[in-house]
């Protein structure tokens, strides 16, 4: 059920660059908070884009309340490691090691999956400890999300003993529980975003334990004309129609007709990609449609508009 999306407790939002992944993450978190869930929304790329959607200052690893019920944080793997070590190991030694930065950078670079496990681990831990009802993650783009979500298994293959290994078991359980964790893929109805979405669905299935919760189709253009009206429009574009319209409006009508034609063709091209998406996904998978926002693409207003559209799609 589509409405069940926000009943999950850990939601990763991904998608090809430029499709509005961050907007959708911000909107889902807003919806959750509006419905009384203690919500955490987390920026992984640390570019600070998420903060812009709440029109707030950049935030660090420590969550900050940005709206009632809604906290925002930015992932910092080094801070995550420090938190983990101080919580789990109670290592006083740590202080004497001084800044971990260089060492950490090196280990994280050398040992693939370390950064990913610290990211996923921190988020899964917040969920397991019940600190929040809902954790929404503005996750890496389609190219990198699988590496992130499969990190616990990857670590299992490489590291056979030690503290890290002990942690991966419960993470895999939590990530693999479809009632708890889900991925939302954001797609725009264009060629590459649809292609990448279909490829990602396959990779999620074969390489991770995480369930695909929904696909959000963003920037759907409105249908301009109803039944029979497009033919009428075509006739309007012929010389007689143009002449009559010019007479009736008293100005240059060609640009206005050209713009309508552009809108119609754009919509049609996109409908083709949308159809390809629909035909190739499981019929039970919720597809949530968000209309193209002509007015704003950024900021709090856009977040709320997208939240409203998603809320309607989810049956709220």
């Amino acid at each position: 059920m589509a409405g069940g999306l926000l009943d999950r407790r850990l939601v990763f939002v991904t998608g090809k660059g430029g499709v509005g992944k961050t907007t959708v993450a911000a909107a889902l978190a807003t919806l959750g908070a509006q419905h009384g869930k203690r919500t955490l929304v987390c920026d992984i790329d640390a570019k600070g884009d998420l903060a812009r959607f709440f029109e707030t200052d950049p935030v660090g690893f420590d969550p900050r309340v940005v709206q009632p019920n809604l906290e925002l944080m930015s992932m910092d793997t080094e801070a995550s490691l420090k938190e983990y070590l101080s919580l789990q190991l109670k290592l006083p030694l740590l202080a004497r090691l001084g800044p971990l930065a260089r060492t950490f950078d090196w280990v994280a670079t050398a040992a693939p999956g370390v950064k990913e496990i610290l990211t996923v681990g921190k988020l899964a831990w917040e969920v397991r400890e019940g600190h929040y009802d809902l954790v929404v993650v503005d996750a890496p783009a389609t190219g990198h999300i699988v590496g992130q979500l499969s990190a616990p298994q990857g670590i299992n293959e490489l590291v056979h003993v030690g503290l890290v290994r002990e942690q991966t078991g419960w993470m895999i359980d939590l990530l693999g529980d479809a009632a708890t964790t889900g991925v939302v893929i954001v797609a725009a109805p264009e060629e590459m975003p649809v292609t990448e979405t279909l490829e990602l669905i396959e990779r999620l299935r074969s390489e991770t334990v995480v369930d695909l919760a929904a696909i959000v189709v963003n920037r759907v253009l409105p249908e301009l004309f109803g039944r029979g009206e497009e033919e009428l429009f075509e006739r309007l574009c012929e010389p007689e129609g143009v002449a009559a319209l010019t007479e009736a409006t008293g100005g240059p009508v060609e640009p206005v007709l050209d713009a309508a034609r552009l809108a119609v063709t754009l919509r049609r091209t996109r409908a083709g990609h949308l159809g390809r998406l629909r035909d190739n996904v499981d019929a039970h998978l919720p597809l949530l449609y968000v209309p193209y926002l002509f007015t704003r693409t950024h900021g709090l207003r856009a977040t709320h508009q997208v939240a409203e559209a998603l809320g309607a799609e989810l049956g709220f």
């Binding site: 090809k16 660059g17 190219g143 503290l163 975003p193 301009l224 240059p252």
Partner: protein, 389 residues
Amino acid sequence: MARSSQKRPGTIEQLLAAKEIVVTCGSGGVGKTTTAAALGTMAAVHLGGKVLVLTVDPARRLANAMGMEEFGNVEHRVDAAAFGAAGIEPRGELWAAMLDTKASWDDLVRRHAPDDATRDAILENPLYQNVTGKFVQSHDYIAMERLYEIHHTGAYDLIVVDTPPTRNALDFLEAPDRMAEFFSSRFLRLLIAPYRSRLVNMASRPFYQIADRILGSKFLEDIAEFFILFQSMYDGFVERARAVTRVLEDRRTTFVVVSTLEAAPVREAEFFMEALSGKKLHLGALVLNKVLPDYLLDEQATAVARTMAGEPSRVAAGLPDALGDEKSRERVVAEVGESFLNFQVVAKREAEQRAELAVAPDVVASVPYFDTDIFDLAGLARLGEQLWS
């Protein structure tokens, strides 16, 4: 509208004629790959010579059109028949290759490994496979490495390369340096020291204890083995990374920043252009992609659209009955007017973004919003002509 007229006019044509390497960059989804392919196509068509398009992740239909799917990492010439089908007769040759990270890394190891045993040990090491396959920066590095390799063969007059989709558009520029630093790290030597000799410095003991508790000693051994193997290639590697950096800094290399006129990509493009000039790299052009047509800002047309949206029944009454019944005429008139006004809002926002682009290079090219996808040479040529003029 194809370029800024205030400054000394330059064109994409002059730029491509003068340079040997063109690197396109920008944030995800702005059309980097398509722009790179279009630039390469135009160079082959108009300037002649041997032109290579090296791309990371092309759309499938585009890759097919250029024969990339079939050849992958291997450079191959785009079939003359494909040009013929598009009604184009190129003066030169267009070549294409897709970047396969894994295969390129394997090539690199084969080239630098001191002997066959080391080579095989590295290629089979699970850590190596993980690093090359999953480690994000390895894509950045290998793209630049391969660019260097191909340029060094002297086989092409022009190489157009697009950059991998990275979290930070600058990553690939720093990749060669970081890779060199990575392999010369003191920490690396520290880490693998105990596996080379039994003597471990007392001062570093706490470090091993922690590392051991977190990761387990078996894993540390794996890491050590991997890097001991890799160290045999160290000199070749570092020298190579420096050479790659030199090529990027060379005046024969230019960077083309691609962006749409949406807020986030523009912000990233600005950041990128500043960073390029900070690094003394040559910023050749800014390509503004998917730009809405100018006519959306026309004042008289706006008045017409307002009339249509505001008084659809009056306008519809003045239209011939032959078009359709009055109710339908009214709806169409209203929709057409409103649609114009809707798109105008976006066009205005784009104009604003464009005005705010503070650092603009000599060449700024705009590409209109094509209403269909670009998936063949004809499409690339259509896009390319917009860049060219």
